[in-house]
Symmetry: C2
Subunit: 336 residues, 2 copies
């Protein structure tokens, strides 16, 4: 890899670009000329990363062509709902057949497509993968120790990307299970809203432990039905990312859930600019599950609260009121 | 069940006794006459539960014979290191062949025995089980919603205990996998010390998410090698209890880990009276693992810090420094 283009200057895109710029020529594309100016001259991206400073080596541009020209790796850090249009806008400038790595953890509304499917649809002929795991951007930027997963089918490419992203504070593992890693990332954002709702209602560590257990069962059921591997969900992309997101005040999805649990309406919970992928993805998740006859009670309650006016208190109460039975019964019916 | 004897008036024993006293005659045995007096007259157990008041219906005694006489269920809430001597002291008064449910999450030092094995050894002829799950005592006492698991082999007895313990805020599941449930409870206390150490060192949500992922892998490996079922570790007794304990300031084990991570010596981290089961169990856990050739890097680091003078910073650094590789490789070697 000689040049990387990182498309999207949100918190994670900027963080990944900053990391990569220390070892390879890296261009960060931001839609907004003001953000480009700020990064160029102040070396900050305040809206997302406060006073953290990106390396001098990081190049930044509002011209996607400049970022993508001769890039031998493309990293996509745009929100899921903007993915297709960003890809379409850049289709004529991306270098054919270079690998593409998605950072986004949502499904496309309307089509229920995973981001790798959207990418393959708009930019055919590229090897496509995801970077995932317990990676809250600010903490990675601050060099707190953690681990991540590169999920891409071709093994030699996976190893190359593993070397590129690994630092002494970010251990990168490879996993050929792209579907499992993607679904885990999508569904955990929905589950983080549910956990946040319980916390916003005043429930504490036991309730959250019980909900995370059910959330893991739910994302495993759906992920396996969609072709993912069971073991992926027990790993960094599954339980690792789920736990980090469901216990962190830095997660936008968790914070939206907390605000909903505290009784604020969705528009106020979302705030002005922030994207909470789980709010948009919960419907596609329930759609996919229905088509496969998979029970997803937590995701259904997130849809009910976010989009159908149900109160979080009713929602959490109904989740806790299901009839008890054996833990080792057939998990396809959703307990616990 | 007509009468229950709860042996041990720590936070969880007292909480379980308080819950049960609302539906069946329940006697709580406390070793200390002062605690008996306090519960009898003030209805509080301040050292463990602050100003929370136990029901008037709960009977309390310092005489184990009075508690155990005609009891048709015995619940054991004594710390693991005191289990054998408490059982020996009461061997002549317990009603033969009544079921015994352990609340303790430790192994016996010296023998490496699980509590159900110690019970079967000292009180032969009783059906033995455990009550486990994400059940921090104060929160259960406060009627926060959560779920628990009764693990006992005989199914009709399991159902009876399930009915006895279930409330509208505590959903109880059954699980015949006694070994898996016990090992999960023991090992999660050791893991909570490791997570606490990382938090005490200043690491946040990503690091904890990555550590919990490895902790789950570690307790699953060991539990399955000892005869537990894989699915148990993905359930309430496994990931549920692990997450609650590794993210809660109410967990003594987690708090000891935080204090160690902040640089305090073990004696000071332990405080005056509190029991942190993980400090005593980490060595037996490593012993068991070595005998089965199972890799338990997190438990080894807890032993090193608690008992061999290693610094938590070195310990966490060595955990994060292992060579990266594929996530789906053979898990018996410990990654991640």
């Amino acid at each position: 890899v000689n040049k990387v283009a990182v498309i999207g200057a949100g918190s994670w895109g900027t963080t990944v670009a900053a990391l990569l710029s220390e070892r390879v020529e890296t261009w960060l594309w931001a839609r907004s000329p003001e953000v480009v100016d700020e990064i160029r001259h102040r070396r900050t991206n305040q809206a997302y990363l406060g006073e953290r400073r990106v390396p001098e080596a990081l190049c930044v541009t509002a011209d996607a062509g400049e970022a993508l020209e001769e890039a031998s790796l493309v990293v996509l850090g745009v929100p899921s709902h903007g993915m297709r249009s960003v890809l379409e806008g850049a289709a004529c400038v991306v270098v054919p057949s270079v690998p593409v790595l998605s950072l986004s953890k949502g499904l496309e509304e309307g089509t229920d497509a995973r981001m790798s499917e959207v990418i393959a649809d708009v930019w055919p002929g590229h090897p496509v993968g995801v970077l995932t795991g317990p990676n809250l951007a600010e903490e990675v930027f601050d060099r707190q120790p953690t681990a991540a997963v590169v999920a891409i089918e071709e093994e030699s490419l996976a190893r190359e990307l593993q070397d590129l992203f690994t630092t002494d504070r970010l251990r990168v593992y490879t996993n050929p299970d792209l579907v499992g890693c993607e679904i885990a990332g999508v569904v955990k954002n929905v589950m983080a809203i549910a956990c946040g709702m319980a916390v916003g209602l005043g429930y504490e560590d036991n309730t959250r432990g019980a909900l995370i257990t059910r959330a893991l069962a739910e994302l495993t059921r759906l992920g396996v039905a969609l072709g993912g591997e069971q073991r992926t969900f027990a790993g960094l992309a599954g339980i690792g990312d789920l736990v980090a997101t469901c216990t962190s005040g830095k997660s936008r999805n968790f914070r939206v859930g907390v605000a909903l649990g505290e009784g604020r309406p969705l528009a106020s919970a979302l705030g002005q600019r922030s994207v909470a992928e789980g709010v948009r993805s919960c419907r596609p998740v329930v759609d996919l599950a229905r088509r496969l006859s998979i029970d997803v009670p937590l995701a259904e309650q997130v849809v009910a609260v976010c989009h159908e006016g149900r109160s979080p208190a009713d929602s959490v109460a109904s989740l806790m009121a299901r009839a008890p039975r054996s833990e080792l019964d057939d998990r396809t019916h959703g307990e616990p």
